[in-house]
Symmetry: C2
Subunit: 805 residues, 2 copies
């Protein structure tokens, strides 16, 4: 029997005597003394049932430890930690990808419903009873999800969890409304549909969006302060402008105080400049000073100040967020550690316990990887992990393990002739000459495309034969891709982002060729993607590589910011549709100053009929897709007042409030986006400066790399341990490792674990010194050494409350 | 005879035996041994002529030390240091405010000439021979200034000084051109006038502009890189857009590749959005994706990246600039120190030498202040300043000295009754209740103005009687100002920026009242400045005080950035005028797509004739003032393409190059301005965070404060020293001090020196640790201890060359 088989957990989980899982083993519990909440086996022969019960309580601990670690990873507060067996089953039900996907799908479905609800997108229109029934179904699903959450959290925690409470209220309202719609068979003014994104935001997968929203709200107070300053100057200048220019009857912009304020608000966005200045300017040339001063103060100073204030707040918020995440993870690790140590050896976690944990934490991980992860954590080389070792848990958990290859190339094991051929290709592909030749080809291709396109001045016809230049260049690219794949091996080739880019562009170009050859009109857009091939030229210069790498690193955050923006769009689109659907049409708004933009008339000049179009009637709120496009145009800001004035002239003056609010909201989000890009970029530059790390690390040095050496005896021992003691059957990965070890002929084999570097890794290095301070501060305030620590952990209630503070 | 009267300078200045000043004293030099370039008096009776000669050589040293310190302050390189007596006199001629003002005036005059040169501002038009003669005169002045510089620098240094060489070349060209104009009596295409701002930039007073320009040029390389990326994407999308949309004949924006590129360039500035999208969008709703993707990549990502890169570079450049300035100052101090120490005591500077230096460095400073400055430097309390003390020179030099008053208030010395009255006013004025009452009045006034203005919906008539509310509020403000001035004393009152603001607004309001009462039309603008009174409300909140304080701190830099922008404007205005003068007029540009904006027609609707105006013909390049306004409009960017297209349709396609270049140049400057505001603001926030200094220091704690205590005996000794030894006659300030000391009855008096805090002080504190490193590095590389140091200083040539490196 392996060492430590009789170990008893230091802490027992869900050990409430009323409904704990241990009760099922009541008979077997006779062999145990329950002292201080801890079960100790009484001396005597190892009773198999006692063994069994012990085993079971260990399993319970593994599971709870895994849950703690999961909570640490997901930044879930510990007060939502499941307290008893029922809660646990609900927790497990609500915490797997199937449930998450369901959550996401229901939320997305609910949002997509607005495509079919009146005012619907024409080809997606559904009858009222259909979409109302659908909505009820989806809401019922959400209700079911909430019930699971209630079961898991318990009523008290559920009430205290703000986000869930808001969700419940919204669900309730929507439910009632859906029933009303179903009963009345007609839709009423349903502005509350604007709240639907709340369900999406609450999804597990939308954590990044939640973080963005939190960040936006945290940046709001200083933002609002400066905004008030901005509006204050605006009002002052509006009064001034009214006093100065209202005497001029040719000037519609300052005729009343309201017009004056609206004109200056629009001027803040520059959308009506210089038109707003022109009537006054044509009367008196010096009146331009008013506008220059206004724009200098508002646009060039205060608006930039706004960015500065948000940037400054953003910086602080990012750091605080990192700190709290870090300390939360540390706390999670401590909780998990206490659950994994045994009464006999309370200072360390041995492989058996670690393996047990990992089976819950990462069910898909192979036995070999679990073992290697343990080895990677185990710095000291002792048989057990200390708490200090265990603190590194989150750093090693994402590693992908691979045995270090003895040879460099994938073709090392091939016969001699093949080897030489591939070696040749490899050398060719890696040579500078080849690279620059390819750059040259790409450049020539670029010029070719430019010249060719320039010569097609009479429009492009797609039905012509495929141009031969296209075929030639595509052949060259195709050969290059093939050479590279054979020379470097597919694995190495596809591990580089740039190669992936090359590959996909080339494949697309081939698809485009096929589309051309077979005359498939709808796919012609693939052909015009060709010029993107030219992006490869930017690999030449260091700075571009940095910029593009940063761009790819930023991409996930950018995407989540984009999603956040879309959520705002959705809410505004719903409100816009409820109030402004169908108010805009060709030749509407004749009473407004922007009537020209909405005009659509057939003018007859000579014997030709020309359709004179203002086109702006296309920017309407008639369905959700049009609304999105209209809102995007409002975001870009230029000429947004034409849409605003058009809608205003068809409805009331108060409509302006909608547009102005939208402008301010998008301004907040856009400022945050700018601040984010600034912060991320400056952070990266500082990082590489501070660590004197050249940003042009070769491909294979990037990311986080751990190495661990496994000797043959160790491997066999582990295999033995797994097979006989732990009773795990799926050991093929470990067996493979043993076989590989034997084959290699060496007594040991080095395994390399890799993962890509995350922002958190960078932050760890950037704030190295401060992190030490945080840890010290944390351990001072949270944990008095030893006894308090154990006492706290003994009572889950106390520890939960503690972790909230 | 006071101690140290026989001291001999360690180093003698301009001591070349051929033409040195000492030669004039050849007769008296008999009493000296010239050993190792140093004059030592031979033992014997103090010969008055030898005394005299010694005195003279000290004076020479004082002067040179003062010049070194001046060079340190102005960041002049030491290789321009005058080498001999002729150079010295030219240097002194070229380094005083009279000369600087002349330099500035000639440069400004030269630039203003373009107001009168064709195409001239109508009422300033001058005949060709008048303005050409004027130009020649001004250029002759510039030539004279350059000659003085040549005399001072010597031919070799002159040639090596790049800026001066450029100036010389430009002068030469302009001179020839002016003569040609005078001879031909007509102006030719004088694009070189765009180079005139070079003379302004070279002025001593425009140092800040030079620094800005340098910073802009230093930020250029990364900027250009990202710009290329931007343009690259633009071209790719232009090709795509051409392929996708050129088939649509209703779409003028993508009809040719050139149009396509121009449309996307304008779209980058958002100026033609959403119009550019509309024709395609009306054909196929999905085409909006093209524009959304383009704008997301270019506008929202790469443009922000541009800002990030510039911001990052800017940060680094600011720090390096500070470092080099600091080290340059330190080096200047070391040079000066070596000139002030005597052979007998080479480790310190005593009061006599320091006073001599200060008489040259700050001729206007009183004897008392020179003495107090010496005391402030003298930390150790010894009789002499060590080099360490002397390093603080630039920190104490700007201090304004005042005896610390024994009493708090200005009215302490008044009779009892008056004292009590003023004390009462003082308490009232300082009370919170009074302040908030005033805020309330201001707020009511604000609402009043708003309501009143809103009720004047039929325009404002200025000839009416003065509204009584205006008189009431003004009376309240007047009383407040009077109370504050009497309660706090005028000095204390006017030392606060906010009070100054209150005061000036109130005075303006009074002037406005008078203007109203006497019906003076042209001054009515003063009346409408009233609402600015409301700005006082922002004193209430901490953040606004910070923001507004930062605003005032930033103001000088902002002004210099504005000036830099104006210089760019000037050059572009000249080029614009040379090429596009008079091409724009009402109803021009009928061939372009923007013809509507240039239309001016009398339409008859019914029996009314309405002038329909497009007004854009006002945005022309017909004279320099119009050009400036047009360029400002181009800077604001909105609708800039209307001007561009108008000009293009009247000239050639190549005109677009001018507008696009202008856009890119202003983009650079604007990005720098944004980066500057960001940097300054974030710097200030970090500073106050790092030093845990509350940003709301009470008024009197702001700025840099030094204190020094002067005892009665010390004062009398100093007076004696000055009177008898140094033979300085203007000692009233010192005598006053002695009298004040006697009167006060105390044995000593504390003097307080104050100055406002500059960016350099903040930087000193921010980079505290790094500064130590810089100093160490500097002393390692530049100065080997003692002997090398002296050797270097012995030979001015070597030291000059050394300081260049």
């Amino acid at each position: 029997m392996a060492e430590g088989d009789d170990d008893v957990p230091l802490i027992l989980t869900w050990d409430d005597t009323s409904s704990g899982l241990l009760e099922e083993d009541e008979n077997g519990a006779g062999n145990y003394d329950v002292v201080n909440n801890v079960v100790i086996p009484t001396p005597g022969a190892p009773d198999p049932r006692a063994q069994n019960s012990l085993q079971q309580s260990w399993e319970m601990n593994y599971q709870e430890a895994a849950i703690y670690l999961q909570e640490g990873e997901n930044n879930d507060k510990f007060f939502t930690h499941p307290r008893n067996a029922h809660a646990l089953s609900a927790y497990l039900f609500a915490h797997n990808h199937l449930f998450y996907v369901m959550e996401l799908l229901t939320a997305v479905l609910l949002m997509l419903l607005s495509l079919s609800e009146a005012p619907a997108v024409p080809f997606l229109r559904l009858d009222v009873y259909v979409h109302a029934t659908l909505e009820l179904l989806v809401l019922a699903m959400v209700g079911f999800e909430l019930c699971m959450k209630l079961r898991w959290l318990g009523f008290h925690t559920f009430i205290r969890h703000k986000r869930t409470m808001v969700k419940t209220c919204v669900l309730f309202i929507q439910f009632i409304e859906a029933i009303v719609v179903l009963v009345r068979q007609t839709s009423h003014l349903r502005v509350t549909r604007a709240l639907r994104p709340i369900f999406l935001v609450d999804c597990r997968y939308c954590g990044a969006v939640r973080r963005n929203l939190r960040q936006i709200f945290q940046s709001l107070p200083p933002f609002i302060d400066i905004l008030l300053l901005l509006l204050f100057f605006m009002v002052i200048f509006a009064i001034l402008g009214f006093c100065l220019f209202s005497a001029n009857t040719a000037d519609p912009y300052f005729s009343t105080l309201e017009n004056s304020i609206v004109s200056l608000f629009v001027l803040l966005t520059t959308a009506n400049f210089p038109d707003v200045m022109m009537p006054a300017y044509s009367k008196n040339r010096w009146s331009c000073i008013f506008f220059i001063v206004y724009l200098s103060i508002e646009l060039y100073f205060i608006m930039n100040l706004l960015l500065a204030v948000v940037f400054d707040t953003f910086n602080g918020v990012e750091k605080m967020k990192f700190k709290s995440l870090l300390l939360h993870k540390r706390s999670a690790i401590e909780h998990a550690f206490q659950l994994l140590v045994s009464r006999q050896r309370p200072d360390g976690v041995c492989l058996k316990q670690f393996d047990g944990l990992m089976r819950f934490y990462r069910p898909r991980m192979t036995a070999r990887d679990r073992f290697l992860t343990f080895k990677a954590l185990n710095h000291s080389g002792a048989t057990m992990l200390s708490l200090q070792d265990f603190y590194k848990f989150y750093e090693v958990i994402g590693l992908k393990w691979k045995a270090r290859r003895s040879g460099e190339h994938w073709f090392d094991d091939l016969p001699r002739t093949a080897f030489l051929i591939f070696k040749g290709i490899n050398l060719l592909v890696k040579s500078k000459a080849f690279q620059y030749a390819m750059y040259l080809v790409v450049a020539i291709n670029g010029i070719w495309i430019l010249v060719e396109t320039n010569m097609l001045n009479d429009g492009v016809s797609w039905t012509r034969v495929v141009p031969w230049s296209y075929i030639i260049f595509l052949t060259i690219y195709g050969i290059e891709v093939l050479l590279k794949i054979t020379g470097l091996g597919p694995l190495t080739y596809f591990s580089s982002g740039w190669n992936l880019f090359d590959f996909s562009v080339t494949v697309f170009a081939f698809l485009g060729l096929i589309a051309l050859a077979f005359d498939m009109e709808p796919f012609y857009f693939i052909v015009v993607l060709r010029p993107f091939q030219l992006l490869r030229l930017f690999k030449i210069k260091q700075r571009y590589r940095n910029v593009l790498d940063t761009m790819f690193e930023l991409f996930p955050r950018m995407a989540s910011l984009g999603l956040t923006l879309i959520i705002f769009y959705y809410s505004f689109a719903i409100v816009g549709m409820e109030f402004f659907a169908d108010v805009i049409y060709p030749n509407c708004c004749n009473t407004s100053t922007v009537a020209d933009s909405y005009r659509q008339i057939n003018q007859t000049i000579g014997n030709r009929t020309i359709l004179e179009e203002g086109y702006y009637y296309l920017n309407n709120f008639n369905n959700i897709l049009s609304s999105f496009v209209t809102l995007f145009e409002l975001t870009v800001v230029n000429n947004w007042y034409i849409t605003m004035e058009g809608v205003t002239s068809q409805t009331t003056h108060w409509s302006r409030l909608y547009f102005m609010t939208f402008y301010i909201v998008t301004m907040v989000v856009m400022t945050i986006i700018v601040a984010f890009i600034l912060d991320a970029f400056v952070f990266r530059m500082n990082y590489s400066r501070k660590n004197r790390e050249p940003l042009d690390d070769p491909e294979d040095k990037k990311g986080i790399v751990f190495e661990t050496e496994v000797s043959q005896t160790e491997a066999l021992q582990t295999l033995d341990l797994y097979k006989h003691t732990l009773g795990i059957t799926n050991l093929s990965s470990l067996q493979d490792m043993c076989v590989a070890l034997e084959r290699s002929g060496h007594s040991s084999l080095v395994f390399v674990g890799r993962r890509s570097r995350t922002k958190s890794d960078l932050s760890m290095k950037m704030y190295e010194e401060e992190i030490q301070e945080w840890y010290e501060e944390y351990s001072r305030t949270n944990l008095q050494p030893d006894e308090t620590f154990h006492r706290e952990l003994d009572s889950p209630e106390a520890s939960a409350i503690n972790s909230i503070n």
